[in-house]
């Protein structure tokens, strides 16, 4: 064997050994990520009930049907509504609480723990507890829903309603509970971000005579921008895909008033057995989420330049 052939074979042996080491990871990634990804596209162009061996190819028919499916587009709007609510109220609350806990206040560790409890609770449990709070029924002349009981006991009878089955309030209730459940994540990330800001910047601003408000706008916010963008992206992805709370609180009802894309996908698969259509929904929704994330990433780049 020539020296060249020996070198070549040794190099290939090295490659093969390396390949064998990464093979398990590649196989797992292929089976659980790459294959389902392409299979979803494949199924989105087929008509399939989930059981039959026949899966006729229908090209873009499922996407065409989806384009005119008003319930689907309503569900997308509902997801946007919940997301907008979370982006504003949830993150504003998380930021305000993080600012408070960043200062030298008493029992701040206790508050940190308290604020982080909602995110670690099971979504189903949270859903059922809030369902009980927002319940609209009566027994023996008394409201057994906690909120209605409170409202009527303080004389605000006109505000009493069946919060979750009233089409005007149901989606907002879901958005509020979702924000309550999720603000702890933002709180932790904001707090971590705030603690990385160099204290000397605040001291310099104070020496220059900057007010608390100006310090906040000119020091805290710019320094926190990368964290804010990450929290926004995570909030968007988390809120757009919220569904466990919805299933446990309203089961998509009343009518279609709290339906969101993920519940539509679930119902198309398990309810009406339209697996192909459900995959088309999944692909479309995935594209929407990717589009949103890319837009935010671009915004982040531009803000960095500013």
């Amino acid at each position: 064997m020539s020296v060249l052939t020996q070198k070549f074979s040794e190099r290939w042996k090295g490659h093969l050994t390396s390949f064998l080491f990464i093979l398990p990871a590649v196989a797992i990634f292929s089976v659980f990520y790459i294959y389902p990804f392409f299979e979803t596209f494949n199924l989105a162009m087929r008509e399939w009930n989930g059981i039959s061996m026949l899966r006729p190819f229908v090209w873009f028919q499922n996407f065409q049907d989806l384009a005119t499916d008003t319930v689907w587009w309503h569900s997308v709007w509902h997801a946007f509504y919940i997301t907008l609510f979370a982006l504003t109220f949830q993150n504003a609350l998380a930021f305000a609480l993080a600012l408070a806990c960043d200062r030298q206040i008493k029992a701040r560790n206790f508050y940190r723990v308290i604020f982080f409890i909602p995110p670690i609770l099971s979504e189903v449990v949270v859903g059922f507890v809030w369902k009980w709070i927002l319940e609209g029924g009566m027994q023996g002349g008394y409201h057994y829903g906690l909120l209605n009981h409170f409202l009527s006991s303080v004389g605000l009878h006109q505000l009493v309603t069946d919060w979750l089955s009233n089409p005007k309030t149901a989606l907002t209730c879901i958005a509020v509970v979702h924000s309550w459940k999720g603000f702890g994540w933002g709180f932790i990330m904001f707090l971590a971000g705030l603690q990385t800001i160099d204290r000397e910047l605040y001291e310099a601003a104070w020496v220059d005579g900057a007010s608390a408000w100006r310090t906040f706008w000119n020091v805290t916010v710019p320094m926190m921008l990368p964290v804010i963008i990450v929290v926004f992206i995570l909030t968007i992805l988390g809120s757009m895909q919220a569904f466990v709370l919805i299933l446990s609180m309203t089961n998509e009802g009343p009518g279609y008033h709290t339906t969101v894309p993920v519940t539509r996908i679930l119902f198309a698969m398990t309810g009406t057995k339209q697996y192909g259509y459900a995959c088309a929904m999944g692909v479309t929704f995935g594209a929407i989420l990717i589009g949103l994330s890319l837009t935010l990433k671009k915004m982040q780049g531009r803000m960095k330049q500013v």
Binding site: F21, I51, M53, Q139, N251, G253, P254, G255, T272, Q274
Partner: protein
């Protein structure tokens, strides 16, 4: 080094390929049963123990809950070819038919016919009918009996005797008008007149179909499903109007449209509601929630005298045998034993469900006996010659929710459903072309 890599790789291959075979085929003297019935699991385990003592065959009952997760599991298992020896299909007829058509379910027609149909004769006719497909069925299936019923169920109304008495109501209603007229009296004592889990679409569908049969008769309902009668027909409007009346006259709370049956059962058991619409399994559930609850059973009060009111019922749960199982004979023998009088009686007593075996009806609790009294009024979508398209059904049930919350009128809902029906019929026509 090489040896280590090879050993690691082999172990890894074994680990991954272990899940690819049919894991249930291992022990030749054991059969595996998948089911979703959490309330019956303990009783099943006891019966399995008895069966093993008697025959030496181990029956491995595996419980998967909740039921919708179970349904997804068997669908995935069918695709992967790892269905157990015996399993249940908890879904509508078209789905059961698809399992059969795809060759996953064994036809038991010949087995039932053996020994002068001894096995077949022990069941209530309606219980077996749910699993039977006649010649010329719309699903194009080979005629046969594909499942073994375990118990019977039917959907009726229940009423709280004490609450009715407190409201000064002496007798339960015999007509829908009487039922509606009771609402103010019940509201006056601070209870909700009627509750049901109408956040679950199948339950509101079931209630509405009782009245559809009562108002227009089975033939016209089936003609609608075939696309020959529109949902805008006055008879259908009359069906939808029942829900409008119930909402307008305060018979139901608005919250009924998002209520799951579990919570509706709680409301009735805790005396928050005077009437409920539920299945015969509720006897067990109510007993667990409130052992002192004193209640009676009645058929939903009819709205018309034109046609009889039919209620949903039949086989509550059934088992089928995997057509690819290597232990079909053992599976059949176990199901034959499970549906014998003694085992059926044990199951009925342990789980407060109506037995599928007609000879095991004795000694039922009074409420369950009342439910058994409604057996001659049974119907079920699985017994109907046609099935409504699932997309139309969704529009139908969501439309009823819209009426209950006062968002839409019966006419608007009828138009919405008819539009969905027309679209689905056109789509089906295009597919056929």
């Amino acid at each position: 080094m090489k040896k280590c890599v090879l050993a690691g790789l082999t172990a890894w291959m074994i680990f991954f390929t272990a899940g690819c075979g049919n894991v249930h085929q291992g022990d030749p003297n054991a059969i595996t049963v998948w089911h979703w019935m959490a309330d019956r699991h303990e009783a099943f385990l006891q019966l399995a123990e008895r069966y093993k003592e008697k025959t030496g065959v181990a029956v491995n009952f595996q419980l998967f809950t909740p039921s919708d997760i179970y349904s997804q599991k068997i669908t995935a298992a069918a695709q992967a070819g790892i269905l157990p020896d015996i399993f249940g299909i908890l879904d509508k007829t078209s789905v059961i038919a698809e399992f059969i058509k795809s060759g996953f379910v064994l036809n038991l027609k010949d087995t039932f016919a053996e020994n002068d149909s001894e096995w077949q004769r022990r069941f209530f006719e309606k219980a077996l009918a749910v699993n039977a497909f006649e010649k010329g069925n719309t699903y194009g299936l080979e005629p046969g009996i594909y499942g073994v019923p375990l118990d019977m169920t039917n959907m009726q109304m229940v009423y709280n005797k004490k609450l009715l008495k407190d409201a000064g109501i002496e007798m339960p209603p015999s007509t829908f008008d009487e039922f509606v007229a009771m609402a103010p009296k019940l509201r006056a004592i601070g209870v909700t007149p009627f509750v049901s889990g109408w956040g679950e679409l199948w339950l509101i569908d079931c209630f509405s179909s009782n009245y559809a049969f009562n108002i227009m008769g089975e033939d016209k309902v089936m003609a609608t499903y075939r696309g020959e009668v529109p949902y805008t027909d006055p008879d259908w409007i009359a069906v939808f109007r029942i829900f409008q009346v119930m909402a307008r006259e305060d018979v139901v709370d608005q919250g009924i449209v998002i209520k799951r049956n579990k919570f509706a059962e709680q409301d009735f058991a805790l005396g928050r509601a005077a009437f409920a619409f539920n299945g015969s399994w509720c006897v067990n559930v109510y007993h667990g929630m409130n052992p002192d609850l004193d209640y009676g059973v009645l058929l939903p009060p009819p709205v018309s005298k034109r046609y009889p009111l039919f209620i949903w019922g039949g086989a509550g749960s059934s088992f089928v045998i995997n057509a690819h199982s290597s232990k079909q004979d053992k599976s059949i023998m176990f199901l034959q034993w499970l549906t014998e009088k003694d085992q059926q009686k044990f199951l009925s007593e342990a789980t407060a469900n109506l037995p599928a075996n007609r000879y095991a009806l004795a000694d039922l609790p009074p409420e369950l006996a009342d439910f058994a009294g409604g057996m001659e009024h049974l119907t079920h979508p699985t017994l109907w010659p046609v099935e409504e398209d699932a997309v139309v059904k969704e529009k139908f049930t969501k439309g009823l929710q819209s009426i209950l919350i006062g968002e839409k009128t019966p006419q608007q809902v009828a138009q919405d459903i008819q539009a969905a029906k027309t679209r689905q019929v056109e789509r089906a026509g295009a597919r056929r072309r």
